[in-house]
Amino acid sequence: MKFKPIFFLLFLSPLPSWAQFSVSGYIYDAKDKESLPSATIQDTTSKNGVSSNSYGFFSINVNAEIVILRFSYVGYESKILRVDARSNELLEIVLEEKITEMEDVIVSAERSEVKDEVQSTQMSSIRFKPVELKRIPSFAGESDILKIAQLMPGITQGNEGSTGMYVRGGTDDQNLILLDEAVVYNVGHLLGFFSVFNSDALKDIELMKGAFPAKYGGRLSSVMDIRMNEGSMERWNVKGGIGLLTSRFTIDGPIINNKMSFMLAARRTYIDKVLQLAGSNLPYYFYDINGKMNYKLSKRDRIYLSAYLGSDVLYANGESETDEGIDSFGLGFDLGNLTTSLRWNHVYESGKLFSNVSFHQTNFNYSIFGNTSDNSLTIESTIQDYGFKADWEWFPITNHRVYFGLGLVKHQFQPNVLNTSGEINEFIASKAGPQLQSDEYHFHTSHEWDLGSLIKLNYGVRFSGAFVNTHYYGLEPRFSARYSLSSNHSLKIGFSTMRQYMHRVSSGSFALPTDLWYPVTGNVKPQTANQLSLGYFGASPKSIYSWSIEVFSKTMNDLIDYREGASLIFNDNFEKELLTGSGKSEGIEFFVRKHEGIISGWLSYTLAKTDRYFPELNKGNRFPDRFDRRHNFSAVAMIELAPNIITSFTWVYMSGTKITAQTGQYLMPNPSLTGIDLVPIYSSKNGVTLAPSHRLDINLIIKGRARAWGQGEWSFSIYNFYNAASPFRVSIGQNGNALAYQQHGLFGFIPSISYNFNFSSK
């Protein structure tokens, strides 16, 4: 199918022809000159408004030569400026941080920003700032953006404590997670109990569950676009934290004042050291390093270089007695991500066209090894991505915004490379493993059109494809619209088609280091999803409260599942184990937030149903998805007890996950006639529902006084305050004198303490 440029040009009609001026520029934080994404810029006369993009760039079309513009952003003092629109100069607007008793509120909360959310066409979307997330109680005291996301409507937690996200009935590998535009494949440390994201290094996170803008694709269920801090252009900042399990340190500052800055953040856990102190031995640790450089080439050009390096490392060694004497041994694993991205922003002369060109690279690899003095075995797998992306935003005239762009990613997979030496080589021969390659590409275009005070449209299309040993491609239409009931209430509708050209092969219930991503093949087609969502959005007159009700329906095709008893670990022939089928998910989501005040927070409730159909599973009958949790409720509250004391609570309630449980058994002679088999009988697939999970987490923050060197705060948190088990699997075990089904939880009451600090040069 040929991509026809004329199709793109149709987006431009109808366009009125009266003369207009354009005011464009960047909007920054006054102290550090960090850009402010999604800031609001409003023409106070016409009431037209726009938002800054993720780089802090804005462009607003006005009809008058002299205009009064209002600039606002959450937590900052608004600024009103008289601007000469005839000048073609790029503005640089700086906003001062607001000093309030409660300096952080949750999730995009300035009044104009709340109204913007109600009036935009974007729905099924959540934006949050990591600096605010630290107030929310966290697992083992480690603030985690993925676990925070699980408290939002439509997002189901996987197993307890894990970072897995199951969004509107999708699976965990259907989430696209971008860190400064580079894809992150493995987002969990320690089997997924901690995410790889150090919140000190992050600036802005947007999570989309539906109504996806055309520039995003490649996964069916969600997009999490994470931006790192850029580093202050004017002063040095140092912050960090020391906790029982991890410590963090971040430094940022100017390399050339107002021209070039950097940010460097590092985090390491010392579980190994702490356990050593407690008399145990588990030589495991993980670390993350985030780095970014930001260079202002000119007023119209900026260069960003970002990198992330993280790893999970286990290495145990020792000696053992054998018949031949003492033999040394070593075993362990090393798995990690390396992502880099180089981006160039350019504002064209007219001020109406903005481009972002980026080159990105992702490397995910793991290595599992074991050795003795005579033998060694190593298993390695690697995914390597090299990508290029170019996106443009065009602001031709008032009420119209056009986006277009393209991208190409080369994926190289080398799974299960096995190297053996010594006598073991006779039993397990070395092998290179398959080498797979997939070239994925896309083109996208969309048009945002404000028809007036009532209706706003955003429609577009993405055309994507992948070259493997065959060529897959398809159109992904996107559409969303807003009908304004009043300035504080709106109805929205969104539709999107998504295509996914790779999938993760997982063994059963747990995410493992050995889980690998594979591309589509001649036999395994791309997964597709169509999703329709409708919603009502509202805010109170002063925008202290906002709320939304959304219903969604999502159908998924060519989904992947595995034959019963599939063995996937180190199995290069896993394709034989794959089955394809379909899925359907429907639900309704309720969300209420209080943005300001001594008490702030939110309530979130989702009622949803998700099932699957695979002809070769469950005797061809539909069955519920494993994480089909019918009810999902979260309550988050932050309470300012005193100017320097904040306490917060999180209470979650989720219906139980679904499992396939053993319901009977029988004896029969085995086919070799060497004994008797005990043959299990199981329920229908995912036919048993575990008990609901519920949990209360508490956090207390006590801020120290501001001192010459900076400021510190103590944070005390308790995970699972009343020690309830959140069942994640069932086994049959002894209960008194009889056997009984036992539902196993993972984590009980876990207290933690940490000390956080920050200081800045003047």
Binding site: G279, P671, D677
Partner: protein, 287 residues
Amino acid sequence: MKLTRFLFMILLFYQCELIEVPLEVEPAEDKMSLSSLLIGEEGVLVSVSKSFSALSGTSLAQIRENPIDALFVSRGNIQFQSNGNTILGEKFNDVPGFYFADFSDYSLGDSLEISVYDSVSTQQISARTKIMPSVNIDSIRFRYVAENTFLDTLKLFLTDPDTTQINYFVVHIYRSSSFLNILNNSDSLLVQSDSLLQIESIFSDIGIDSTLITRSYTIEKNPSNDTLIAVLSHIEEGYFRFLDARKRNEDGGGGIFNEPINFPSNVENGYGYFSAHNPVYKIAIRE
């Protein structure tokens, strides 16, 4: 230092015992289960057992503590039908749950049906299977690899009985000749414990273009004069699927990292698999 350690342990790892939550699971319907082996053309040996609760035990050792009548059907009425003949099954050497029918006086057709009635539970099950023609092992021999210290390779050759359709097989390779007792001595029910099972393998002729099927197996090397016996059965597809499910279950099915497997069955109102196949064997001696 001890105090520090104590405090760290308290702070880090203090967890009250989690408040466990009971779970009610609807038990599987109690039914009979069936398995079978055709002994040459002389007859068929079947075992008829009963399904029971998953909470009766999780290992054979625990299960054995239950009364035998709770595990096996010891008073079953067994009938076989083939080619218009009806043959009654009899208890096999008074072993509970095992029945034997002598076919030596009958001419069997292509298929064999069985019906079982348990007078205690008044349940009835039935099944039908195709009688698969036996396929001979053309030859079996060791392949010597000088540099191998620990392993031997055994190669098995057979002729594809019908290249116009897919054929399925199961092979068992035992070490020592005591396995022959099961075939030569009808009093012997199970292979003797000194007949070590080396290989259990299922395979088909999918993807094999020639009439010659070759299978290679790696086995642990033994000192010279090693005797191995390969027992090959030509089986129907349904039984192949059953054995495949069994192997997957052995490899960890139902464990924490693998999906549970419900074994397929051709038994109406019951579990297990009724299969009629004629095993043939060949001996290989490594000197």
